[in-house]
């Protein structure tokens, strides 16, 4: 058997594999694709919920004049998809290969690379489009350098970009992408038009998810779509992953126990019902009863009993693996929207949540942090 790292053997094997059954392989690839990739927007109009950004970009597409750009926003809101779609609409799939350089956090992007690789690409003469390409795509006379996940570039590397950006701006445009706009140094940010990608709003995200479910032949129980959207907090990638996993979960379980390999192909188009419960399971939501158990334990009791009750609940939650952040996230509304708790108590309690969040982000021990927060909240409820 060939060694894992024996590249030659692997290439040969891959080659024989490819030639002998290339036709079925292509079909299979499609089936095996994660839905997030399968349904990645193919062109600009396919991108949902970022109307403003898309309108502006489509306009520049017509005028063929692009500024340097900075895309920023939370994960899974369409930043990478948008820039890839834009590049494709500008150049078409072929010319794109020579006109677009994509560098992301998985590429070495230290200062020396910025000086060498980026600069070399930036100053390279433009490859000319063929007549056919020109007929089909705008093919504007500049290249695009995409620096995806730019928040992970060092300040020095970013500074090194400044000159390159200016010197070659006639034939090269930059597109920087990040989650936190504050991680991009000012001199760079100020050279770019900024596009904010919003966290996806309920309606749009929901429509997209329902659309995918329909195409995949997955039926959603009443409320399941809402739960998907609620659990994914505006992150469409998360929503789609949840949907696919929930579909798998219900798809396979319904079949009382037969486990032949090929069964999956057959029921591919069969209708499955994704339930609210299955979505909750997949998304790692803590059941209401568990949170309620903790809240009950925190309520004032006769002397001494509180510690025992709270500590038992917390120990169980930790052993059950609930993440502390999730506990805090769900405990907060349970307490803040409780009408029976006085406002001045709520004010004090808010401070405890703030402290807990900070500590968890700093990597403090989850067990101690939750136990401490719960006991302190309990102390406030008891009027201490």
């Amino acid at each position: 058997m060939a060694s894992f790292f024996d590249l030659k053997a692997r290439k040969e094997a891959a080659a024989t594999n490819g030639s002998s059954k290339s036709a079925p392989a292509a079909k299979e690839t499609n089936r095996m694709q994660p839905w997030v990739e399968k349904y990645r927007p193919k062109n600009l109009s396919d991108v949902t919920a970022q109307d403003h950004t898309i309108t502006v970009l489509q306009r520049t597409l017509q005028s063929s004049n692009l500024p340097h750009m900075l895309f920023y926003g939370p994960p899974g809101t369409g930043k990478t998809s948008t820039v890839l779609a834009l590049a494709k609409e500008l150049y078409g799939p072929e010319l794109m290969k020579t006109r677009v350089l994509e560098l992301n956090a998985s590429d070495e992007r230290g200062i020396s690379i910025v000086r060498e690789k980026v600069k070399n690409f930036a100053r390279m003469q433009l490859a000319q489009p063929t007549a056919a390409q020109r007929a089909q795509y705008p093919c504007p006379p500049y290249k695009i350098i995409i620096l995806d996940e730019a928040d992970s570039m060092t300040q020095d590397a970013q500074s090194a970009l400044r000159r390159t950006m200016e010197t070659y701006s006639k034939i090269t445009r930059f597109c920087l992408i990040c989650n936190y706009v504050t991680r991009i140094i000012d001199p760079l940010a100020s050279r770019c038009s900024k596009f904010r990608f919003k966290s996806l709003d309920q309606g749009n995200a929901r429509a997209r998810v329902e659309d995918i479910a329909r195409k995949e032949g997955v039926r959603l129980e009443d409320g399941a779509a809402d739960m998907l959207i609620k659990c994914s907090e505006g992150d469409l990638r998360k929503a789609i992953t949840f949907l696919q996993s929930a579909a798998r979960l219900v798809g396979a379980v319904g079949d009382d126990g037969e486990e032949e390999e090929d069964k999956m192909d057959v029921d591919e188009k069969e209708e499955k019902l994704v339930t609210v419960k299955s979505v909750e399971d997949i998304a790692g939501v803590i059941p209401d009863a568990t949170i309620e158990g903790l809240v009950q334990a925190m309520r004032p009791k006769s002397r001494g009993l509180v510690y025992e009750a709270v500590s038992k609940q917390v120990t169980d939650m930790v052993a059950d693996g609930w993440s502390a952040t999730q506990v805090i996230t769900q405990l907060f509304p349970a307490i803040i929207y409780d009408e029976a708790i006085a406002d001045n108590q709520k004010n004090k309690i808010t401070l405890i949540f703030s402290e807990a969040d900070k500590r968890l982000v700093d990597g403090s021990d989850e067990h101690l942090t939750i136990l401490d927060s719960a006991l302190r909240i309990s102390g406030i409820l008891a009027g201490a």
Partner: protein, 352 residues
């Protein structure tokens, strides 16, 4: 001689005795052909790794069990050479990037791209992709995590990741967005008793339910710890009864002593005495957080109900400092001093 934890480790999803519904869920994912990236999290000793190896077997068949260990050398940008071990079968590989500390980004960048850009060797493999299992993913640096992002998307036809972590807290949001989160709860005490009984039967040991129940309770729902205790008790005693004592590990016993010392006398001299013991624990590589937590939970049963919350409060406070600071001994000692102070004030208030 192999330890029980290894010897009786389940090797397929249907041999897993607890969390049956989770096993089913993993099975349906593994058989669906569009297996997602996973982030598997849960407390230590809950059986995450075992469960994942079983899942891999469902994905690829018995070939995943034929593993070998390679040593690879990576070069950093500053031309430093890093040596690094990789466990692999022809279908998957397993890495522990925290072994290389701050250079984990280099390993992640190079290794994953290499895997991603080459196709499955075995033409008859059940899956086109290979799986990379990353142990202790919560200790990956932020840069290393960032380096995973686009790789996970771009190479998804050839590559799936399974990240193993104790908690999701230190995993950056873009990675959480790209993975399906799988929570593995620790087994309950009854489930642990059940595992102990099965193991005991395989060894031909006479089962003592009472003893097994005590082990399960002592283990704090950590199955690995329970099995180690179970094996030790049988190795150390000719005859097992429900009452056979379960000696705690040395370091835990030492923390028990420290707790009693804190209670016995509140003075600078006493702190000095305790400091020596704390140093002792630290030089034996017991993590400061473990020391602080264990000490706290040894103190709690010994003190009055009224001060329990106060002690937890300071434990959480100093644990945070341990995390943020560099000299852990300062914070451990400060905690000891603080507890003495709290207890002293409590004693005084009782005198009036």
């Amino acid at each position: 001689m192999a330890l029980l934890v290894d010897k009786h480790r389940p090797r397929s999803l249907d041999q897993l005795t607890y969390h049956k519904d989770l096993s089913e869920r993993l099975r349906s994912l593994a058989q669906s052909g569009d297996f997602p990236h996973l982030l598997v999290y849960g407390p230590s000793g809950a059986g995450k790794k075992t469960r994942i190896i079983c899942t891999l077997k469902t994905l690829f068949g018995p070939g995943v069990e034929k593993i070998k260990i390679d040593s690879r050398v990576f070069q950093t940008t500053s031309n430093r050479k890093l040596e690094f071990n990789i466990v692999s079968s022809i279908y998957h590989l397993e890495i522990t990037p925290s072994d290389v500390g701050n250079y984990d980004r280099v390993v992640v960048q190079d290794l994953l791209k290499e895997v991603a850009q080459t196709q499955q060797v075995d033409a008859n493999a059940r899956q086109r992709f290979k799986v990379v299992v990353i142990n202790e993913a919560d200790s990956l640096s932020r840069d290393a995590q960032a380096a995973l992002r686009r790789t996970m998307e771009k190479y998804s036809p050839n590559l799936r990741l399974i990240l193993l972590a104790n908690s999701t807290a230190n995993i950056i949001a873009p990675i959480r967005s790209r993975t399906l989160l799988v929570r593995v709860a620790a087994p309950t005490e009854e489930e642990i008793v059940d595992v102990l009984e099965r193991s005991g039967r395989k060894e031909g040991w006479k089962g003592e339910r009472g003893l097994n129940e005590r082990i399960a309770r002592e283990s704090g729902r950590n199955l690995r710890r329970a099995l180690l205790m179970f094996e030790a008790v049988h190795a150390q005693n000719e005859k097992i009864t429900p009452q056979t004592p379960l000696p705690p590990p040395d370091w835990e016993a030492l923390l028990g002593t420290i707790a009693s010392e804190i209670l016995a006398e509140h003075s600078p001299a006493q702190i000095l005495k305790i400091r020596a013991k704390l140093y002792d624990l630290l030089t034996h590589c017991i993590p400061a957080t473990t020391i602080l937590k264990t000490l706290t939970f040894k103190l709690i049963p010994l003190v009055d109900d009224q001060v329990k919350a106060e002690i937890v409060k300071w434990a959480a406070f100093y644990e945070h400092r341990v995390r943020m600071g560099t000299k852990v001994i300062f914070h451990l000692e400060a905690f000891v001093a603080k507890v003495m102070r709290v207890l002293e004030e409590w004693d005084m208030s009782m005198d009036f």
